[in-house]
């Protein structure tokens, strides 16, 4: 079973306590954006086979949103971090790069 440590309350939360919230770090397009950019923002997803940054909510715990880095092939959890950040923390990216050959943070979608 998937266990994520909630960075807000510190609990090691089991999957049944958590609600998945999809891909993280999607940059909202600005007011001047064209229709295509808005479509990509709303619908297009990386859906990667490998490292995935995602949003989760500690729904049956403290109720707060947070971020997690996970591998969709090995199901390894690299770490969790607060929701109030536009990018994953440097140490986490370094840790993933050490574990996954060829990994590079592509920036926000």
């Amino acid at each position: 079973m998937l266990v994520l440590t909630c960075p807000c309350c510190g609990a090691a939360a089991e999957e049944t306590e958590l609600a998945p919230g999809g891909e993280a770090h999607i940059a909202r397009v600005g007011p001047g954006a064209d229709a295509e950019a808005f479509e990509a923002y709303l619908f297009h997803r990386k859906n990667p086979k490998g490292v995935h940054f995602e949003r989760w909510r500690h729904a049956h715990g403290c109720g707060k949103w947070f971020h997690a880095a996970r591998n969709t092939v090995t199901l390894e959890v690299y770490g969790t971090y607060p929701a109030q950040t536009p990018e994953p923390p440097r140490e986490l990216l370094d840790k993933i790069a050490a574990r996954v050959p060829g990994f590079a943070w592509e920036g926000r979608a």
């Binding site: 479509e39 297009h44 997803r45 086979k49 995602e54 996970r70 090995t74």
Partner: protein, 415 residues
């Protein structure tokens, strides 16, 4: 291809059944094909079959990284029905259901289509109202379904508990002509018929890159070398995002795990398919006697073909409430598949941003029932370069245009 028939069995018996030929050939890839289909699941094979049969396009290869039918097609619980809510869904699912009626004859391969009827329970006032609305929509679409009351449900399925305790059965949407088929046989039957037309099915060959020039596809790279093509059809279900990335575009799709399980075999207890969407479980009985059981999909991205155990527990809990008779059964096997989910829970049959490259995906938790209709529509799209009436509403452009084919409410449960 030697035709299968009762006479063939008698004839082959004379040579101790040693003369049967292989059902399909396993050729090495040629240097170039007019059309390459990626993915030898039901949808890819049916696409190739109708390209050959309906459009005379036979210089075709189907490229499969594993074994044919080893993806979701060989992992699904085989529910077939066409009582969807929206007109475009009803059209393509009913086309598929009606093709299933004659598929064994058409393919000369017994796909064991069994129109045993499919019940979708109403276990809340909202659901009852929803199914009545679907039944009314289906009348207008010319699809034979009806809303039945709880008493009738009990007559159709005597082992069902209609009194709750959590969610008493109020009624059901009943499609008499829905049912099940043998999943492997659908893949095998199409594969054999494709091979007989000279279409190459190349297994154990993974596509690793899509080649393009001036905005148009020119070929693919695979673990068996590069192959050129005129047109490319991507039909890889859970791996659609991976292939789309190779081709240079993104999709409105997330890949998640969906599981199923079967019980030990028992004597016949249920001769229809029952789906309980409110409590998230569904069940039918295979010819071998196993109860075939499925439930909800996981909510997070996953490529492992293994799902979360609590979904198995949830499903079993729901079904034991609905069918108390099964509470002592042992479960034999449990497995998962990676399903390709769209936001509106409808499929994508579409041109793509890359020229001459087409995609068929997004069938998610419910595409087995659609295989013949989807192949029919996809073949037309690939052959003509433009969608026909069955595929027209399922283009990628519907997301940007906000023209969803919203089945998330109509099909709240995995099937």
């Amino acid at each position: 291809m030697k035709r299968y028939s009762a006479f063939a069995i008698a004839r082959e018996a004379a040579s101790y059944h040693e003369g049967w030929e292989k059902a399909w050939a396993s050729p090495e890839p040629k240097a170039r094909y007019d059309v390459i289909v990626v993915g030898a699941g039901g949808h890819g094979l049916a696409t190739a079959y109708y390209l050959g049969k309906n459009h005379g396009v036979r210089n075709v290869a189907v490229i499969e990284k594993g074994w044919l039918g080893g993806g979701n097609t060989g992992r699904n619980t085989t529910i077939i029905r066409s009582n969807y809510l929206q007109d475009p869904s009803a059209a393509i699912f009913e086309k598929a259901r009606s093709l299933y009626d004659g598929l064994s004859q058409d393919l000369n391969y017994n796909v064991m289509f069994s129109p045993r009827g499919c019940l979708m329970l109403a276990q809340s006032e909202h659901e009852a109202r929803g199914w009545k609305r679907t039944a009314a929509a289906n009348v207008l679409q010319g699809i034979d379904t009806e809303y039945v009351d709880a008493k009738r449900v009990k007559e159709i399925v005597p082992i069902i508990n209609i009194d709750g305790p959590r969610y008493p059965v109020l009624g059901a949407l009943w499609q008499k002509r829905g049912g099940t088929a043998r999943h492997d046989a659908v893949a095998w039957g199409y594969a054999r018929a494709c091979s007989a037309m000279g279409i190459d099915i190349i297994q154990q060959c993974e596509v690793t890159a899509v080649r393009q020039k001036a905005g148009k596809v020119t070929g693919i790279e695979t673990t068996k070398g590069a192959i050129d093509c005129g047109k490319l059809a991507i039909v890889v279900a859970g791996h659609s995002g991976v292939l789309a990335e190779m081709a240079g575009f993104r999709l409105p799709i997330e890949s998640v795990a969906l599981q199923a399980l079967v019980s030990e075999p028992i004597k016949p207890v249920i001769d229809t398919v029952v789906m309980a969407n409110t409590v998230h479980g569904y069940m039918s009985q295979s010819d071998k006697g196993e109860l075939v059981i499925g439930g909800g999909a996981d909510g997070f991205n996953n490529y492992t073909q293994r799902g979360s155990f609590q979904h198995v527990e949830d499903t079993i809990r729901a079904l034991i409430e609905t069918f108390p008779i099964i509470s002592r059964l042992k479960m034999l096997r449990q497995w998962g598949g990676i399903v390709d989910m769209t936001g509106d829970r409808s499929p994508i049959l579409s041109k793509t941003p890359l020229g001459n490259c087409f995609i068929n995906c997004g069938w998610g938790t419910g595409g087995f029932k659609a295989i013949p209709g989807s192949g029919w529509a996809m073949a037309e799209l690939v052959a003509k370069g433009e969608p026909g009436p069955l595929a027209a509403e399922f283009g990628l452009d519907r997301f940007g245009a906000g023209r969803f084919v919203d089945e998330s409410v109509a099909a709240g449960v995995a099937h």
